[in-house]
Amino acid sequence: MDEIIAEYIRRTVLRIPRDDIAAVLQKWGFLSETQLQTINFRQTKESISYSVAELCEENSADMKQAAMLDIICNHIYPNKRMWSVYQMTKTGEETDFFDFTDFKKKFKRRLQSALINVTINFREYEDNAIWIRIAWGTPYTKPNQYKTSYVVYHSQTPYVFISASVLKSNLPLLCQALLVASNYHDIREMKLRSHCLNSLKDIVFKRYSQNFQTYYPRQERNVPTENVDLRIINENRNEKERIQRLNQEVFGDGPQPKLDFAQYKLETMFKSDPKLDVMERKEPFRCLVKFSSPHLLESLKSLAPAGLADAPLSPLLTCIPRKARNYFKIRERKNFLPESFLSP
């Protein structure tokens, strides 16, 4: 077996947290039960990785198996990568049956016809998600297995989630191959990026809880049963309830999708006291505002109830899941009213 493959498998195993290695190897299914039992999972990760590499040599693992292990690792820990969302459009109206084998064939053919030195691996998951792993090479060098891009595509949807690696130059090629394989005509990058893949899916597939007004089924809001001491009167009860109601209208009841940041690029004029003429030239004041958080939308949701912001929140913040974007450019509106507006 190739030394390179063994080393690659070893390094992949090293990336897995020690407690999960056994489960991941089981999922991979390449090593038999008896072989897995010979590994002592209590030793250091280094030693475990060497044991695994040895066993893989015994079984003569090839690149395909190694790639499978890599895909499985990335599927279990998708949040280690930064994912961008791309949207495809098509003009035709035919009903698409979407055959997985067909898709694979077309994709591979298109990509390999343009660039021979590329490793492509597919894996399908139960939620109709197709994971594609691509290791890029150049016309003169073999594919570098450590520089991989990942594509996640759900059949019959116009959205693709791409975690590109360093080699951005291969992106157009990748997009071309996707269009051909999935039968679409055009692809563009959406202004939506995050580490949490599932939340990106929730936003574009509209799987998060939106608050719709209906009569039935009755949206019974469960009043939180606090230990109400009747001697305590809440002076600001009306205000609290108003904030709660507005918050619920905007954010809904359920958990919010997890985003890392929202970025606003301001190209608005600096508004100052006419007496202090700060800017000599009337140019837009360029400024970048970035909100970062481990869980941006939940923190925005809790701003008003915590008293840190007025309710209702600015629509610039609350439109993030609805517009499916977290990069914004704010320009001056071209009339006398000095209000800013969102660029499309």
């Binding site: 009903t95 049956f97 979407f98 509209k206 939106q210 039935y216």
Partner: protein, 325 residues
């Protein structure tokens, strides 16, 4: 009485006993009597009898006072007890009074209803109205398409169902300005919403909702059938059921036995009509070299899949096979 009291009292005080008995023997019982009633003058008058005698009289008086006090206390206690009893009785009386009133009122009500059905109380009318409206709203929801007016337009709710089982609900927030626009929605992304909207939304919103409802119900039905097949017959299916997002292409394998030998069948179900929950094509293929009798069976199975719901068709095939063996 007083005499006995005083003698008793005197008996209680030991050191005076001897003196009083001496005194009594000297002057008789009657003499003790004026003593008890005696006041300062009498005491003064008797002072010549000696200090001890004086002390005696004081003692007797003190005793008398103590007795009186006791009596008073007893009376007070009695009074308190009696007051409490009075309270109790009053409360009971009030209770009984209200009971009687209620009874009377109830009787009156009954009679009132019988005599005056045209005038139920405003409360009951309101309750009945609310009940009937809630029932109406439920009926609308169960019918599949319901809506609610919002500030800027309407919010429609399409609830899907398949053969009596209610499945997911999908929402559309529609703006009614110069043209009708969908502001936001919870329709899954693989349903061709934009297409349907482009065709029907501006022209005829009813048609739009009907078409969309057909798509959603068909999708929900197909997904339900696939889920049922996986749930109930996972042991009979080789490998896993392959499907796509719209559930309009299903591929799975199962074994049929012919001459007591198992043969694998591969089924490919194509649902060409997105508004239909039955397949338009059911392609069954088996391994080459299989006996010709299997071709007949394959045709029959294909027919079954096209006619009936997936899980029901499969169920009938399994039971038919069972009865054959």
């Amino acid at each position: 009485m007083e005499e006995t009291k005083s003698t008793e009292g005197n008996r209680e005080v030991p050191w005076g006993r001897a003196l009083t008995s001496v005194f009594r023997s000297g002057e008789g019982l009657g003499a003790a009597f004026p003593f008890a009633r005696g006041k300062v003058e009498e005491r003064k008058g008797r002072s010549r009898d000696g200090v001890l005698a004086y002390l005696e009289t004081l003692e007797a008086e003190a005793h008398k006072l103590a007795l009186k006090q006791e009596e008073e206390e007893e009376q007070k206690k009695q009074l308190v007890r009696l007051k409490a009893r009075v309270k109790e009785l009053r409360a009971k009386r009030d209770e009984l009074r209200t009971k009687v009133e209620l009874q009377e009122k109830r009787l009156l009500d009954k009679e009132g209803l019988v005599t005056d059905p045209a005038q139920p109380s405003a409360q009951t009318v309101l309750e009945w109205k609310i009940k009937s409206i809630k029932a109406m709203l439920q009926v609308f929801y169960l019918s599949g398409i319901s809506g609610k007016r919002t500030k800027q337009g309407v919010c429609f709710c399409i609830s899907t169902a398949y053969e009596g089982t209610y499945l997911d609900s999908y929402f559309l927030d529609i703006l009614v300005k110069s043209e009708v626009q969908i502001q936001r929605h919870s329709v899954p992304v693989f349903i061709p919403l934009e297409q349907i909207a482009k065709e029907h939304l501006q022209a005829d919103i009813r048609r739009f909702l009907a078409v969309l409802s057909d798509h959603l119900n068909a999708y929900a039905g197909r997904r339900y059938q696939a889920d049922q097949l996986e749930e109930r017959f996972s042991d009979r299916i080789e490998g896993t059921l392959q499907r796509n997002s719209l559930c309009n292409l299903l591929v799975f394998n199962y074994n049929v036995s012919s001459d007591s030998k198992p043969f694998p069948f591969k089924v490919k179900l194509l649902y060409g009509d997105l508004c239909c929950s039955l397949p338009t094509e059911a392609i069954i293929s088996c391994t080459p070299g299989a006996p010709a009798s299997l071709a007949e069976m394959a045709a029959a199975h294909s027919e079954a899949f096209r006619r009936m719901a997936l899980h029901k068709a499969f169920n009938s095939l399994i039971s038919a096979e069972g009865s054959q063996d």
